[in-house]
């Protein structure tokens, strides 16, 4: 373990920035980003030199649902509008097996997506072989994404990453979906992956800023060999947002890392384009801090707030209970269910009964 590494070691290191505003940011916007606004954001990111931009419903392909909300447009409509406008950036999509399917991946490819993040919970990589293989067959830049990575130990996570590599993934991500990890947690997991993966397989890190650790964790990941970092400009993403990309870029510049992205342009995108779009200030607040502290999936935040308003149980208590019940990404239905069960225990809600016959 290399806890004593110094700044200069990263000088000259190439890091690929992958922006999440138009995918993870969809969560923070309750999936309500209009097509024109997506085009505006993506064009500005492209102009600033961001090489990879994720565009879809917050839950990715197949995400339009009662479970995850309906976006203003279909994934195909967003992708078809954005992809042709890109001068240098590649457009990526998210696919979570069990929600998205190969049919939807084909359709996204047909609309211009050329990279895909295939995401599973950190212990369930073996639900992804058909999707990873299909993405490779299409010639897409294929990333395997191990979500809620704090719930698997470094060796366990490395085994899961190795499975995804075997299926054909070219990059393996440590994904801190809950914004729970601390730099030592990140280091241990990235190092364990580096140990087992082929040298040509890249490692990525996807952070959430719930404990304010997004940038520090991303740097820790790079120190152990990660070369792709997810973030979002102005942090527009679930929970307290993703690693704020313009701030991370400033740190990269200071440390002499090579990203090919223009800092001042990215700062302008954050200030002039993204911040005015926000429905609420995406920041560390009582509930998003609870996510990071309790290790709960960041996307649960707004759902918990809605359930709190509907059933009269505080959002923080719902989030803590979800953490105790070990609910994972995709189980948004269990937020309403948990809130109802808590409301019943508190005498705020009754079981239904049959009408007297």
């Amino acid at each position: 373990m290399s806890t004593t590494r110094q700044e200069p070691e990263l000088r000259g290191r190439k890091v690929l920035l992958h922006d999440m505003c138009l995918r993870d940011g969809m969560h923070a916007k309750r999936e309500q980003i209009p097509v024109e606004q997506m085009v505006k954001v993506a064009t500005a990111l492209d102009e600033a030199g961001v090489p990879l931009i994720q565009v879809t419903h917050g839950a990715g392909l197949g995400g339009n649902s009662l479970q995850h909300g309906f976006a203003l447009a279909s994934n195909e409509a967003y992708l078809s509008a954005v992809a042709p406008k890109m001068k240098q950036a590649k457009v990526s999509v998210l696919l979570i097996p069990g929600l998205g399917t190969m049919r939807e991946l084909q359709s996204a490819y047909d609309c211009g997506a050329r990279a895909v993040t295939v995401a599973t919970h950190c212990t369930e990589a073996d639900t992804s072989p058909q999707h990873i293989a299909y993405a490779r067959k299409l010639g897409m830049d294929t990333m395997g994404f191990l979500m809620m990575a704090h719930l698997n130990d470094p060796d366990g996570l490395a085994k899961q990453g190795k499975l995804m590599e075997d299926y054909g993934a070219q990059t393996i991500y440590v994904t801190d979906s809950a914004g729970y990890m601390l730099p030592a947690d990140v280091r241990a997991r990235v190092a364990a992956l580096r140990e087992v993966l082929k040298p040509e397989t890249e490692i990525g890190f996807h952070g959430h800023h719930n404990l304010g650790m997004g940038i520090a964790n991303s740097i820790a990941a790079i120190e152990e060999g990660a070369s792709r970092i997810d973030g979002s400009v102005a942090g527009l993403g679930a929970g307290a947002g993703n690693t704020p990309l313009e701030a991370f870029l400033a740190v990269c510049d200071r440390m002499g890392m090579v990203t090919g992205v223009d800092l001042f342009k990215l700062m302008d995108v954050a200030e002039d384009v993204i911040v005015p779009m926000m429905d609420h200030m995406v920041r560390v607040d009582r509930e998003s801090l609870t996510l990071g502290y309790a290790g709960v999936y960041s996307t649960f935040l707004l759902h918990a707030k809605r359930a709190a308003a509907r059933f009269g149980v505080p959002a923080r208590e719902i989030l803590v209970e979800l953490g105790r019940r070990k609910m994972i990404g995709g189980q948004e239905d269990m937020i309403e269910d948990t809130a109802m069960s808590m409301a019943k225990e508190r005498g705020l809600l009754k079981d239904v009964g049959r009408k007297a016959a």
Partner: protein, 304 residues
């Protein structure tokens, strides 16, 4: 009392659990277990439970079908080999209960449409998926009250209860279940989501059913219909329980179910396994009752 003799194809979780269910049946008797790996635990377990076994796949069973009087077979292999298995056995007059997502025969959810299939003397019926068996009765309970524009279900399954076949072929599970929400559940459009949760101790199978009704939901009638449907399912899956709902939000009707298994082969958290095997067993029993009563007679299909 005479029983109808059955063969089980596939010696994984589902096939093994089926042995327990069939052994309890008043009208079915498990006789053969078919696998493809002579060293597999599943075949050894079947032998210990008194079944004849072959590791040569369905071809190893065919020569014994007539002599052992096999009339019903359960296929718990994969969608890819099911069609061939079914063709070979149908030709010998064996009725197939398909537990793979192949769905070449009509889809069957016992409290919704089993009677129709038995009356039509179908030689192959498909059991859809565990999520389908757990959610379609509820969708049907709503759609028999008023039209359902869209049904969406979420199945949360314990990681330990999901075998390698399902994991490697999640898309087939999604497609088959989504399609059945429409064709059997009666919704105009359907979507199925599956989540595999690795929590320890394993979580009990959960299912959330959301229906968007056409027009304002008729709340009292929907509640009555759902509650009586749950009682129907409980006749063959005692651990099928309502946790929350039906709850109404505009046109959205939500029902939150939990399915505890009987703990036959896998522990009780694996309600997904039980609801599938129990539904398959219930289906075979209805055919068996009719065969024993002489009201139906299985016939060999024409060789293609």
């Amino acid at each position: 009392m005479k029983k109808i003799k059955c063969a089980l194809i596939g010696s994984g979780n589902i096939g093994t659990d089926l042995i327990y269910k069939l052994k309890r049946s008043a009208v079915l008797e498990p006789v053969w277990m078919v696998g493809i790996d002579a060293a597999s635990e599943g075949l050894a377990r079947a032998r210990d439970m008194g079944l004849k076994t072959t590791a040569e796949g369905v071809d190893g069973l065919l020569p014994h079908v007539r002599s052992d009087g096999i009339q019903i077979a359960f296929d718990a292999t994969s969608a890819y080999v099911h069609a061939e298995n079914s063709r070979k056995l149908n030709e010998l007059g064996v009725m197939m209960v398909d537990l793979t997502p192949a769905a070449i025969g009509p889809l069957c959810v016992p409290p919704v449409n089993l009677r129709q299939h038995a009356d039509k003397l179908e030689m192959n019926v498909n059991m859809i998926s565990c999520a389908g068996q757990a959610t379609i009765p509820i969708v049907h309970a709503v759609s028999r009250v008023q039209p359902v524009d869209y049904a969406e279900i979420v199945a949360s399954l314990a990681s330990k209860s999901i075998g390698p076949g399902t994991r490697a072929n999640l898309d087939e599970f999604t497609y088959t279940t989504s399609d059945a929400l429409v064709r059997v559940g009666g919704a105009k459009r359907g979507k199925a989501l599956a989540i595999i949760n690795p929590a320890e101790p394993p979580m009990i199978m959960r299912n959330t059913i959301n229906c968007l009704t056409e027009g304002e939901p008729q709340q009292a009638r929907i509640i009555d219909s759902v509650l009586s449907m749950i009682e129907e399912v409980q006749k063959y899956v005692p651990g099928y329980q309502l946790v929350n709902g039906p709850v109404f939000d505009g046109r959205r009707v939500s029902v939150f179910m939990k399915v505890a298994g009987l703990g036959d082969y896998l522990p009780t958290y694996a309600g997904n396994l039980d609801i599938m095997t129990a539904a398959a067993c219930r289906t075979a029993e209805m055919f068996a009752e009719e065969i024993l009563a002489g009201t139906i007679q299985l016939r060999a299909t024409e060789a293609a």
